[in-house]
Symmetry: C2
Subunit: 555 residues, 2 copies
């Protein structure tokens, strides 16, 4: 390792939010470093800040400009917030994609759906086997999480070893996939970890995490005791949970129906990758007619209240002809993600109207996939890192994680998105900041969060939109009365608002100087101002105003 | 009581949501009943369903049409969801407004702010004194809640006694105002309650509610132990909490600063009504400069993350020149209302960036103002109602409350908004349904939720808006090329989208039949379709399209 070679870390996404994970490691001479990118995740839009947007991901500009030095894209696991943007951003990155078997399967599907070549995805072996990408030697360490084959990464470099946890929990009995291997963690720690880059999402949860095994018996009891149909929802990718639920239903004599494309696809992926074995037999919903409700169990997508998913459709009417009834039991085997309370609440009320018994927000039937505070502390102790960089969390999660580490005497660095951390020496330190941001998929187009498109939409949504057509003669006098169309504005009497605004513009044009009328920009400003003021006076709203000026000045 | 006289109850708002309470009691011959209206409350808009809307209230149409038979408007307490719409809806109702002293003060302020005469508000005495309004004799029973002088109502009618709880909790030591008077409840019950109309908001909270007194010592410890400035936020109307916080700070040697207009107004209202006594002396924020941070305490509005309130401004920058610093402590002495998690989270992260110690979501420093499940059961037992009608709750809360009552052998009626319940006989029963809905204050205009205005805004916010100006000759041929303006649409290259859409419209006009071009509606449909399809093909979005057609057919 020559003197001017640096080992650096920067979060492009995920260190400042829960979602859109994208982390970049660099090694080499400054300005000529080689890179590996860990995860290419998504986050989801909301009406408050991103109406109409389809998907949100980290702005890849920094690595896009250095893509010729990108050695590999490594995906830790197949959740959308880690792999969801792969198909969208891959054209800007163009490097081999490396993941374990199940994750690789999903990654290939993402690329295919974007019309890209799935062959760029390579399947990684499991630690202690490793793969080398330029100066980086990477090992995939099995960790438990709420999806199969999640991985922590041992990243060995000439400047030392990094452990990048990915998302993880410490589950000794995860039902599907590998249990937490304390001995493996201890061994990795024993060889010296320079930096632990660590999941922070559950840092505020004070009690040790529970095992997937803890909910098996309660779920089985529920399947036994419920008098009618049981439907359960959870994340489609939580294959262990799907199996627990379906197996309990099957063991209690219920036929299993799987609703929703996402869930069926995930079960197929489980089979194809070999992670899911012995799933009970399933019945098509169309064939479930003849089965008594008390002998039936359904798995449904949409635990977060998504309007098009099976759960929402079952709640509001029917899904593929099937309806819920009074006496049925609906289990949310899930946690409502902050921000989704209203959507989930809407469904709970619809089910209440039908008289369905709903079980939700009940830890008896759900465990988290992330490490809680005591679990994080245990990992700190096992790996004994010289430095800790919290990742995957909002700012407050990262800060709390720093506080926990500091309290134990570990040097911890608060490094939100864009913070370049130098890991070359013994003590990690912040050396620079780069610009980061968000990229939106809007329809078929990728746009920057700061492009103004979404701001325009929010303004129309809160203020309404007035469109004015003005026709002017070549001599600068109005050719006709102006014409106004109002969208999204309250009209005290139908059509009256437009007429009053037209009259106001008319007057403003009459009062205006000829020079104003001849100048498009001055004319536009005049009309916009007249409409805003009059609308505010009439209805108390200052709308967005668009002026279309037509001039007859052709020869 | 003659045979065809009926005692009826119907919720116009509040039985189907938490918020916008408005309940109507009727007594008399069907078609000629006399009425009292209980509460005229608000609820708050959100971007998901009501972008740009200022306030939401129940649609008063049913009682507006019968306003000549409305004997009184009774306000149980001064929370916005019970009195907030009074100034807006009073012109449609026009009946005496009755409330206890503190509530009456706020009610008068609401009317004055709407330019109405505050003298219509009469101050009610406290039970066992009563007031009579037509066939109704009403007594205001002091109950504890998170605002002073909250009241349950004893409503005596020729058909029997109703107890309408309003919002309440069972607090033996509420710090400000009257404690829960078990004996009074028992006496009211002993005389026979035909129907208990009962708050349901906390029906899913399984443990008995705690007293305001329980948090006094922890708050005092916090004020003592904090090293720097302490700021606390809570609802401005929670005068008991304001006093608890300020008194603890004062007792620990901190000067008290009150930030935000709402909080200062509420404290003044507390003095003016006599409910608030011995509030510690306060210091103006401008005079707080000279005071050491560890000797300072601030009360701030905005516990729900409201963007313009003191808390949000302190978090993002400064409030009236005052800034938070690392080492300060910020206490949320409040609970985040479902749906506000994202707004509050934004503030927590901003404070994390500054390094402020934040305490939130911590029951040590907050108690709810509503009766939990065991408290509700205790009230059922004290009042021994023949019938129970759950109110103030989403559908699921009402249903759960019905289930609890049924389990104890009480006849309970699930009566969401618009359900007319006949209370004349021994057993309450649903006899009819009326149309109910929501009214929006949008700017200065009251509009119906179904008017389509908000739907138009949501469509513009999610799809963008394309405006097309088309000029046609008198003979039906295009006079000029069409002109397109795009608002809120992603443009792969600046201005290119408009040009491509213009070209597409041009082609569509060229291909169109003369008859289509001569007919405004047919021409509009043609243009809308062309824009939608081409936009979908180019950018994957189908926008809202407005077409302005100018025809030169003047003589």
């Amino acid at each position: 390792m020559s003197k001017n070679e640096k080992l650096t870390f920067v979060a492009l996404g995920g260190a400042g939010e829960i979602g859109m994970n994208m982390y970049l490691y660099g090694y080499g001479p400054v300005g000529d470093q080689r890179f590996i990118l860990v995860d290419v995740g998504l986050t989801f839009p909301d009406m408050d800040t991103t109406p109409g947007v389809d998907l949100i991901m980290a702005d890849p500009s920094f690595i896009e400009a250095r893509a010729d030095r990108l050695e590999a894209i490594i995906i830790t696991h197949a959740h959308e917030d880690h792999v969801g943007a792969l198909g969208l951003l891959y054209p800007k990155l163009q490097a081999p994609v490396i993941a374990r078997n199940f994750t690789a399967l999903i990654a290939r599907q993402k690329l295919e759906r974007s019309g890209l070549d799935p062959k760029v995805v390579q399947t990684a072996p499991v630690w202690p086997e490793t793969m080398t990408f330029g100066p980086f030697t990477v090992g995939f360490v099995p960790v438990s999480h709420s999806i199969p084959e999640a991985s922590g990464l041992v990243i060995d470099t000439p400047a030392g070893r990094i452990f990048h946890t990915g998302d993880f929990k410490l589950d000794p009995d995860p039902q599907v996939g590998e249990p937490f291997d304390e001995e493996m963690f201890r061994e990795i720690g024993a060889s010296g970890v320079k930096a632990l880059v660590c999941d922070s999402t559950n840092v505020f949860s004070p009690r040790p995490g529970r095992s997937e095994a803890d909910i098996v018996d309660p779920i089985r009891s529920l399947m036994r005791d419920a008098k009618g149909l049981v439907v359960a929802t959870t994340f489609a990718s939580n294959i262990a949970r799907l199996k627990t639920l379906a197996q309990a239903a099957h063991d209690e004599g219920r036929s299993v129906v799987v609703l929703g494309r996402a869930m069926n696809t995930m079960i197929q992926n489980g089979f194809a990758s070999g992670v899911l074995k012995n799933f009970p037999p399933t019945v098509d919903v169309k064939e479930s007619d003849g089965i008594a409700r008390e002998n039936l169990f359904m798995l449904a997508t949409g635990s977060q209240g998504e309007r098009r998913a099976a759960t929402a459709q079952l709640a509001s009417q029917s899904y593929m002809g099937f309806r819920l009834k009074e006496g049925d039991t609906f289990l949310f085997s899930s946690k409502t993600i902050p921000g989704n309370e209203t959507s989930v609440g809407r469904i709970l009320n619809l089910m209440s109207e039908t008289g369905v018994t709903v079980i939700e927000d009940d830890d008896t039937y759900h465990v988290s996939g992330h490490a809680n505070r005591p679990d994080l502390e245990r990992v700190h102790e096992l790996l004994k890192p010289a430095n800790l960089i919290p990742m995957h969390g909002e700012h407050r999660h990262l800060r709390e994680h720093v506080n926990i580490a500091n309290a134990k005497g570990i040097n911890a660095v608060l490094a939100p998105n864009g913070t370049i951390v130098d890991l070359t020496g013994d003590t990690a330190q912040v050396v620079d900041h780069i610009e980061t941001g968000r990229t939106y998929l809007d329809g078929k187009v990728l746009i920057g969060a700061m492009d103004g498109v979404v701001r325009e939409r929010i303004r129309m949504a809160t203020r309404g939109h007035v469109v004015v057509s003005v026709m002017m003669e070549a001599d600068g006098t109005p050719a006709d009365r102006p014409w106004v169309d109002c969208e999204g504005l309250p009209d005290p009497q139908k059509g009256v608002l437009s007429e009053l605004l037209e009259a106001e513009i008319d007057e403003a044009l009459e009062r205006a100087k000829r020079s104003t009328l001849k100048d498009d920009e001055a004319l536009e400003n005049l009309v916009v101002k007249a409409v805003r003021m009059e609308s505010d006076r009439l209805i108390g709203k200052k709308p967005v105003v668009t002026v279309m000026i037509n001039r007859f000045d052709e020869g």
